[in-house]
């Protein structure tokens, strides 16, 4: 079964209209429940809930503290290849972008790993563009083999794979998978992805499930807010996560909160996602999915990251470069997106401690 079937089951319902129709009492009802149903999620994403963010925030802070305590996992992305055959209109790695491309050799990966390991981070997100012929499965296995020597926890953020391919990368040392649907709106998705393998909406939609089926310990889903109607994308992201949780209880399902940032291609969202909107998405998803870890990247400013922390964020990136070769002594490629929080790992850790949170570096290792 695919999550597409769940989406199809809602085809007769005008979700946007249902969200707009939610009233204050629907929000209050949702706030007083332990396990929220999809209609509660609609209420929390509604304009009515937008006027009650303080109530949502108080409840979300409570839920987060009880589930996760004051611990925040730190990680950093490691970009190893920016070759890409897709033409995603909003992305800095878009194949139509001019400029040199770069893929690290395994020796260069080692140099990056050494530089990163010196920051004390233990969890690394391995990133590539979508170019199977360049960043091949064998190459990724090689990268994981090198990184395994430095980091106990390795997460993939790469092009969508088949179940068997995920199985291979788990055997090579991958613990988890981050893959975003970008937008759950199929028409919008088709317009934003005019060519390349990523154009296949269904294959991408099922990728998190294939990761779970392959045995990933941890799978992270999201939309890239700003590409489509944020209320719908936030709704489907949370529904997708709950569906994965229910089908694969052994896999930890997480969420992220990426919103569009300016990038080299200059694409700008139709409906910019304001700070207030991003906060509402976080709160609604936290309340709907109390056990889901939520990641906030350096797309967000220091102020935004610090203020959102107690409301549900459990995972922060630190010491980030979004360019290939951005950590070692080697030359650097073009950034995928502009980083809004340039603080080092030590600075982020100090900020967390100063705010009463414990930075967690290591939370798992292969046993």
């Amino acid at each position: 079964m695919s999550f597409a079937e769940v989406m199809n089951a809602y085809a007769g319902l005008d979700i946007a209209k249902a969200i707009q129709g939610c009233q204050r009492q629907d929000v209050i009802r949702a706030l007083n429940k332990d396990r929220l149903r999809p209609e509660d999620l609609l209420a929390l994403l509604s304009p009515a809930a937008g006027n009650m963010l303080e109530d949502l925030a108080r409840r979300a802070a409570q839920v987060t503290l009880r589930q996760f305590g004051r611990a925040v996992q730190l990680f950093t992305p490691l970009y190893v290849s920016d070759f890409c055959v897709n033409r995603c209109l909003y992305c800095g790695f878009n194949a139509a972008q001019a400029g040199p491309r770069r893929q690290l050799s395994l020796d260069e990966v080692r140099a990056e790993a050494e530089a990163l390991a010196a920051t004390d981070l233990k969890q690394v997100l391995l990133l590539t563009g979508d170019a199977r012929h360049k960043a091949t499965l064998e190459y990724l296995e090689g990268c994981l083999g090198v990184l395994r020597g430095y980091f106990p926890s390795l997460i993939l953020e790469i092009y969508a794979l088949t179940t068997q391919e995920y199985v291979r990368l788990i055997a090579a040392g991958a613990e988890g998978l981050t893959i975003y649907q970008e937008t759950y709106d199929q028409d919008r998705y088709a317009r934003l992805h005019p060519s390349g393998p990523k154009r296949d909406y269904a294959f991408r939609l099922d990728a998190p499930e294939r990761g779970c089926a392959a045995g990933m310990r941890w799978v992270n889903v999201s939309a890239l807010y700003g590409l489509g109607d944020w209320r719908l994308d936030a709704f489907w992201t949370a529904m997708h996560a709950r569906w994965l949780q229910d089908r694969y209880p052994g896999t930890e399902i997480g969420l992220s909160l990426p919103r569009m940032r300016p990038h080299a291609g200059g694409w700008q969202p139709d409906e910019p996602v304001s700070d207030r909107v991003l906060t509402q998405i976080l709160l609604a998803q936290r309340l709907y999915l109390p056990r889901a870890g939520i990641t906030l990247s350096t797309r967000e400013s220091p102020t935004m990251r610090e203020n959102l922390l107690p409301l549900g964020v459990t995972r922060l990136s630190a010491g980030v470069s979004t360019s290939v070769g951005g950590h070692g002594a080697t030359k650097t490629g073009t950034p995928q997106f502009e980083v809004a929080d340039n603080r080092s790992v030590a600075e982020i850790a100090a900020m967390l401690r100063g705010r009463g949170f414990q930075p967690v570096f290591k939370d798992w290792q292969p046993f």
Partner: protein, 263 residues
């Protein structure tokens, strides 16, 4: 004042002076742990091996655990019996001792323990000389299998981990206390000192509390409150509470006219 007789509590021959066990997760700052230990009076503390990093330059939870505490490493994060066994062996190899709290959880939605896998891991580890304290649902059959597998205690949950809901499994725990000839340590779900007190009054041998202390506004004071609640509950159990009645006793017995003992 009359002296209360000594109340012995032992796990595999190791005498413990406190019936409160602590955890190390969810603290805003691990540096609170020594004060929490001191305020609670606890002697045993559990630590998730998955978070231990002997090479860390960024601080290590082990650095904050007072040397006087008995370490109870746990297998948190294990999804299978084999993973739990490997974590336990690594804990011993790292010098964390022979005590191990088995947690095998393959359901992230409710974090409920897998009883079957826990029994298998217990069997393997007990045979290797570990002192095994398994975390399980309050289930009589699982508890009996754990006795046969060589467990040193049984740790039934009061409510799902981290929920602070108190003794939701009260009746099932009562059955374990009556039927199982091993220490019963109520673990998980105890959100208030009164919950811990209630478990002890029922005759539980000990309780383990983490979330309620670690996420309190003032963890050190909460640790002290739990320590006192556990002592009070234990004394209440030892004192043998009077039978409870649904109604007040009639002040003038209706059969008083009969005279004698029946009155």
């Amino acid at each position: 004042m009359r002296e209360i007789p000594e109340d012995l509590f032992e796990i595999r021959g190791k005498r413990l002076g406190s019936r409160l066990f602590l955890g190390t997760g969810k603290y805003g700052d691990d540096a609170l742990i020594p004060d929490v230990c001191a305020a609670s009076g606890a002697e045993v503390i559990t630590v998730a091996l998955r978070r231990v990093d002997p090479d860390a330059h960024t601080g290590n939870v082990m650095d904050h655990i007072p040397r006087t505490m008995r370490l109870l490493p746990n297998t948190s994060g294990a999804r299978t019996a084999n993973e739990a066994v490997r974590i336990a062996r690594l804990a011993r190899a790292m010098g964390c001792g022979d005590w191990i709290k088995i947690e095998v959880i393959a359901d992230n939605n409710y974090l409920l323990p897998d009883g079957y896998a826990t029994v298998r891991a217990t069997e393997t580890l007990a045979a290797e000389g570990f002192v095994v304290l398994p975390y399980v649902n309050a289930d009589l059959y699982v508890a009996r299998d754990l006795v046969s597998a060589g467990a040193a205690a049984v740790m039934p949950l009061g409510a799902p981990i981290g929920t602070n809901r108190g003794l939701q499994t009260r009746e099932m725990i009562r059955i374990l206390i009556e039927e199982i000839d091993l220490p019963i340590i109520v673990d998980a779900g105890l959100g208030l000192p009164s919950h811990a007190c209630e478990a002890m009054e029922m005759g539980a041998d000990a309780v383990l509390v983490n979330t309620a202390i670690a996420t309190a506004n003032d963890p050190v004071t909460m640790a002290r409150a739990f320590g006192e609640a556990v002592r009070a509950g234990r004394l209440g159990f030892l004192a043998g509470p009077g039978a409870q009645r649904m109604r007040a006793d009639a002040s003038s017995p209706l059969t008083g006219f009969l005279g004698g003992d029946g009155a």
